[in-house]
Structures are given as C-alpha cells and as structure tokens.
Symmetry: C2
Subunit: 417 residues, 2 copies
C-alpha cells in the first residue's frame, strides 16, 4: 500500500475510534489499561523473544551500543512498564472536567470543559517502552493514537501492538484506538505529519535530527522539545547550598535532557567556585570556562568557545561562565539557552521573582536542581514528552497537555438582544 | 527591501520589544493603552482623512460594497475603538499569574506561571479597527505584534500605526512592540508565516480564502477559524422555548460566524416546526429542507442538497433536517459541522450532558442561542479571533489564548536523589 493510502486508512480508523473513546466512561478506559497490563504480563516470554529478534538484527547491522541499550527489554523494564500502566490508571480523569463556570450579565452560564485532542501521532526511535507509555497516556486522556516506532524495534512494537489490541477488545473498545504502524517504510512518517485529516497533533521523540525534520515538514501541530540546558546562579553573598545543587544538576545523570550543561557564576559567588570545580573534577567532569572563571579557578583547564554555550553535551562536560549580575545572566540565557529549564540559586527574593518571571523557558526554578524538570517530579504521573514550545503546552506534557478545553454554555431559553 | 529581509528586521525589533514588554508592570502596559486612546482621540480628523483616502481608492478600483463598509471609519466607530481600549485596560493582568502551586513528595513546590507567547503576527483584511483591537490585546497580554492589514486599508493603518507608536513611547515602551507593516507587497505575508524566528503565532482574520492559504503555507502555529454553524435540537416533548431560540440564532444577525446555518429537528419536535417555518419566512429567510421536513412543513419550498449541510450562508438562508434522535443529530454534526458552535434545546438533563460532552466543537450550548458564542458574551473582555482548532486555544480567543503557562519550581536547596 502506498504511504498516503496507508495514512488515510489509519486516520479513518483512528477518527472512528477517537469518537468512541472520547465518549467512553473512565472506568472503561481504566479497564483497557488493566487488560493491556495483564496481556503483557501473560506474554512476557513472547515479548522478550520478539525483542531478542530486534536486538540480534541491531547487533548484526552494527547499531550503536547506546541505541541497543535503549532497544532492550529486560524483565525489570517490563516490570516498570506494568507499574506505569497502573500509575496512569490511578490518575484523575481529565476528560469532561469543567472549569471556571460563571454566570454572565446576559444570564447564560459559561464554563470550559476539558476534551481530548482527537488523534495523536507519535513518532519515536528505539525504546519499545514508548509504545506502551504513549498508548496508556493517550487512552487515559481519551485520544486515539497512531504509533510509528523505529524500524530497529519493529518486532517488539508489533508484538506489543497485538497485546494492546487484545486489551482494548477485552474492554469493549475499538482496537483502532491504538494502531501500531506495521511497515518500516520511512515515507509513512512524511505522509503522517502532512495529514491534518488523520492526526491532530504529532509528538516526535528521539534524536535532534528526527525532531528537526518532523518540525520542518509537519502540516499539523507538533509538540516537540529540542536541545540543551543552562543553570544560572546569581547571588550577592555566597550560600552553602549552591555547590550541592550544581553538583546534583550536573552529575546525578549525564544523558538526560534536564542535566545542567552551562553554569553561570555571579561575581559574589566567586569564592565558592574553586571548591565546586574541585568536586566536579573528582567526579570526572571536564570543565570549559570563560577567561574570568579560569582566573578564579585555574583548575579549569580548557577555554570555552562560543559553540560551548549552545551545546547539549549529554556527557560529563560542563561550560562555566562568570557573569556581572542578574541582567548579564538573563542576557546569556536569552541568547544561548534552549528554553528548556533554568535554575537560579539565590537568597534574594526580589531577584528570584525577577528570574522566574523574565526567563523565557518551559521550567524556571529557584534553589533546586534542574534534574527536577520531569513529569513524575511535577506530579503529572507520567509524561509523553517535554515541550520547549510556548504554544499549547510547555514543559513536561502529561494528560492535560493531551487535552484541550471547549466552551460550554448553559441557558434557559436565552436569546441575544 | 526584499520580503525576507523585511520580516527578519521586523522580527528582530519585535523580539527585543517582547522581552521588555513581558517584564513591564501592568501599570505601564495600561498607561500605553490610555496614551494610544488619547492619541487617537486627539487625531480624529487626520484619521478620518487617511481613511477617506482608502475609501476613495477602494471606490475607484471597484471594491465590493460590503468590504467598503468594513473599511470605513466613522466617528461612532472611533468611539467604539476608544471604548474597547478602555475595556482592555480594565481587564485583569494575565501575565505572571500563578496557578496550581503544590508541594511534591520531594519537597519542591511546583506551579504554573502565565506568560506571553512572545511575538504575534496578525494578518487581516479591510477593517482598520482590527489594528487597534489586536494591538491592545497583545500589549495587555505582554506580546509584541506585527500587524499586516490589507492593502485596501494601508493609509488608515499607517496613520493608526503612528498613533500607537506615539502612545508606546509616551509610556516608555519600545515602539517596536507594535509594528504596522508599511508595504503592501503580498510576498511579505508569505515570508511572515514562514518565519518561526520572527513570530510565535499567526492569527489570520478575514475571508475563507485568506485563512486557508495562511494555514496551508504556515511554518509557525496558526490560530484560525473556518466555516459554518449548526444548531441541533432534540427533545422528547415540544418545548415553547425552541422557536424563539432558533429564530434568534438565525435572524438576529445574518453576517456573523455564530449565526445558525443548519437546524436539526427531532421527531418529537415536529408539531412546532410549521409555526417556526412561518415565523422565519415572515422575516424573509429562505428555507431549504430534507424530504421529511418538507412533508411536515410544506411551506419549505426548496430541497436541501448535500452541499447545503456544509455551507456557511452568511445570508438569510437556513437548511433544515429532521433527525431520528440524538445519535442521528450528533452523527450529522460530526459529518458536516465546522467545529465552531452547536446548541441543543432540550428539557432532558442526560441528553443535554451527552451532547455537551460528545459534540466536538469549540462552543457547545444547551438552551441558548448560538449568537452567544462571542468573546464579550463569554466575559473575555474582547477577542482577537475565534479558534476552531483543538490545539492551544478553542473558541473565542482573549488574553488567556494569547498567553501560555510555564512551570515554576521553588526549592530550598533541593537536589534529586
């Protein structure tokens, strides 16, 4: 089947399922989540075998070891999947929730009702976990979803797709509520992101290349996150909190998108810099600094280049810059930041509030490690992605980001005069 | 200057102004609104003269009389503009408002702060009022705006642009916070909607052709509304409310997007149809009906075609269809509706709630005229457009639709473990 015809068919199926799903009581949606969990639990061996095929093919075609690691399903990872299904089932139902109902001068009552977006198109790489996580969040929020995973995970994804289908059918839901694209033809991605009649929103997850390509060619709205992190520190007097927060932000994990990549140091903080540099180096972090920072802490052995300020290392590397004041720090962030997360360490309330208000990032923090920028830590229960856009959803996207609000009006025969 | 260079320059100016505006206290933004109002009030004669030039050029080039009417500024319309500036100034400040602040298990406090979108690109036709309305809503919500009105209104828009500039300067704000595109080259529209670095969102207002073109070619998010209206009625027993609501929805104004274009009649309501048909015809409304409706009310002289169910007449024409039940009505709406506004007249609570929940439109009403679907009637103070999309904003878009929410995190030295 040619890609456009396939996408049209997937879209038609999804539209029908989406209407049924939006009207389904939360008990039925939760029942589907439980049935999917039971199906996965009952077919662990089969799932691991399917995954093994992907891994063998990956090894024989020389897939990058990091990608192989993300591709692998282990008994522990399957346990995590089952747990996440339970957690999503336990979240409050967002669909149909009513807000802000007020009586207007005309006498009508106006409010907002939360409703599903419709059909979500998910484009991702490697991790078969995403198949289940995305399916569960979409089901809970009343959305149908079309899942297009990477070709390297096709056997795992097909197997999971069949289990999800059986779970949906057990709960009496249309099996097209979750459709795993069965072919690996890349042209399907191009057709999917250009089909507003088939999908209402595209969520790409994976490498920068994938996300940029999807964003550039999409004809439907995209929830995307791109790039790098910065942590900014500015304070009048040294505070003992600072080094511990900075250490955690950089070294707690290196490969995550909420890891600190740049450290801005105010003049008032200089006395604490050498100690922090020492601690970072003990953990094997390579430091690249501006001239002023290297003067204060000569242990910083490498000059930071212009490129360093805009780089997401995803590695034990940190760029360090001394700034004059809060203004200078915010200027740096506006120029080089990715709009993902920035944190300030300060005891000064006014400065903290200015930073919170004026820094234009999806998460802005005071006296906390950037590693907290995460759907679970924010109480969303789970996240389907992190948005660095300002439109629709910003930051970790959970059930609320997968829904919209429509206006509802209650009259008693009211007419407009 | 070539269009791309011009848009890049407008974008750079707007970005600088947007940062200043987002940080400006609401008192300063309100002061700018007052100063713009004063400038317009002081230069009424000049404004009417500039508008006269547009009107004369329009008449000599044979501009459609309806467009000429929309193009015209009268002393009364200027009074309305001044009033709307005052109303926008009196609205609550959306910028910086914090929501949902909760303490998480880790001890951090997480909330959401409302922030401007950044730079709005407004593309519109004819009505110079939009220049002032859009500028005022964007200023109030902390957004910079690039205004690209129609070439037919260029003299009025240039004049208003200069008055707005002087108002901004009097309040100490960057005059690039509101930029009126000074050239009429159509290629500027193409460049603007393809420049995510210059604008964060595009809002087109005007004819269907303009909006469809913008939506198809845009590289940035678009808040748009397209097409037609339906009112659905379904009830077990006839209710005297129904004819009055239907009459109001169709005949209170013919040219607005919240005017009823299709009337669905449940079987239980048939006895009231002939009376309603009579009342509509007395007001000169042409009726086009399905076979069943024509049998019940033979005064319906014209057969409705398939095309009628999806047509926005913007005229004294109404299509009428008899439906079997609520299911049938919702099926019709899902198939032919535009997703703008649907209203049901019923005394049955369960049916009303099903309709509210399952009909997928930006406004869904019970026992009220569709003519209420409007930013003022919903208490938004003013609207910059009506969105029929599900992404970001749905229905009338006011200050909230021009903003987004970012996550804010308060720690006291918290690190992630």
């Amino acid at each position: 089947m040619d890609p456009k015809t396939l996408v049209a068919e997937l879209g038609n199926n999804a539209r029908v399922a989406a209407r049924q799903l939006a009207a389904a009581p939360v008990a039925v949606r939760n029942q589907a989540l439980a049935a999917i969990g039971a199906a996965i639990s009952d077919h662990r061996t089969g799932l691991l075998e399917a995954n093994q095929k992907d891994l063998e093919r990956g090894r024989s075609t020389g897939l990058d070891p990091a990608l192989l690691d993300r591709l692998e399903l282990t008994p522990a990872r399957i346990d995590d999947l089952l747990l996440s299904l339970e957690q999503v089932a336990s979240l409050a139902d967002p669909v149909g929730a009513m807000d802000d109902v007020r009586t207007m001068d005309s006498g009508i009552r106006v409010g907002k009702m939360r409703v599903p977006l419709g059909v979500v198109g998910m484009i991702y790489e490697s991790r078969p976990n995403v198949t289940v996580e995305a399916a569960s969040l979409c089901l809970k929020s009343g959305n149908a979803v079309i899942l297009r995973g990477g070709s390297e995970a096709i056997d795992s994804n097909r197997f999971l797709g069949a289990l999800i289908e059986s779970g949906l059918e057990q709960a009496g839901l249309d099996k097209s509520a979750v459709q795993v694209v069965q072919v690996t033809d890349r042209a399907v991605v191009g057709a999917l992101i250009a089909a507003p009649e088939a999908v209402d929103v595209i969520i790409p997850r994976g490498g920068k290349g994938l996300i940029e390509r999807v964003a550039a060619d999409a004809r439907v709205p995209v929830i995307k996150h791109l790039d790098v992190f910065a942590t900014s520190t500015s304070m009048t007097a040294p505070t003992p909190r600072w080094p511990a927060i900075a250490l955690n932000a950089k070294t707690q994990r290196y490969g995550t998108c909420n890891t600190m990549e740049t450290l801005l140091v105010s003049q008032g903080m200089q006395s604490l810099l050498p100690g922090l540099v020492d601690a970072l180096q003990q953990r094997g972090v390579e430091l690249r600094g501006c001239p002023r920072s290297r003067k204060i802490a000569p242990a910083i052995a490498i000059d930071a280049t212009e490129e360093d300020w805009g780089t997401e290392y995803l590695a034990p590397i940190l760029s360090i810059r001394v700034v004059d004041d809060l203004e200078d720090a915010m200027e740096h962030i506006a120029r080089y930041g990715s709009g993902h997360t920035e944190s300030i360490v300060t005891e000064h309330h006014g400065r903290a509030m200015r930073f919170l208000r004026e820094v234009d990032s999806s998460s802005v923090m005071v006296n906390a490690s950037t590693r907290f920028a995460d759907g679970f830590e924010y109480g969303l229960g789970a996240e389907i992605g992190i948005s660095t856009d300002k439109f629709h959803a910003r930051g970790p996207v959970g059930l609320e980001g997968l829904t919209s609000q429509k206006y509802v009006v209650f009259g008693e025969g009211h007419v407009r005069s």
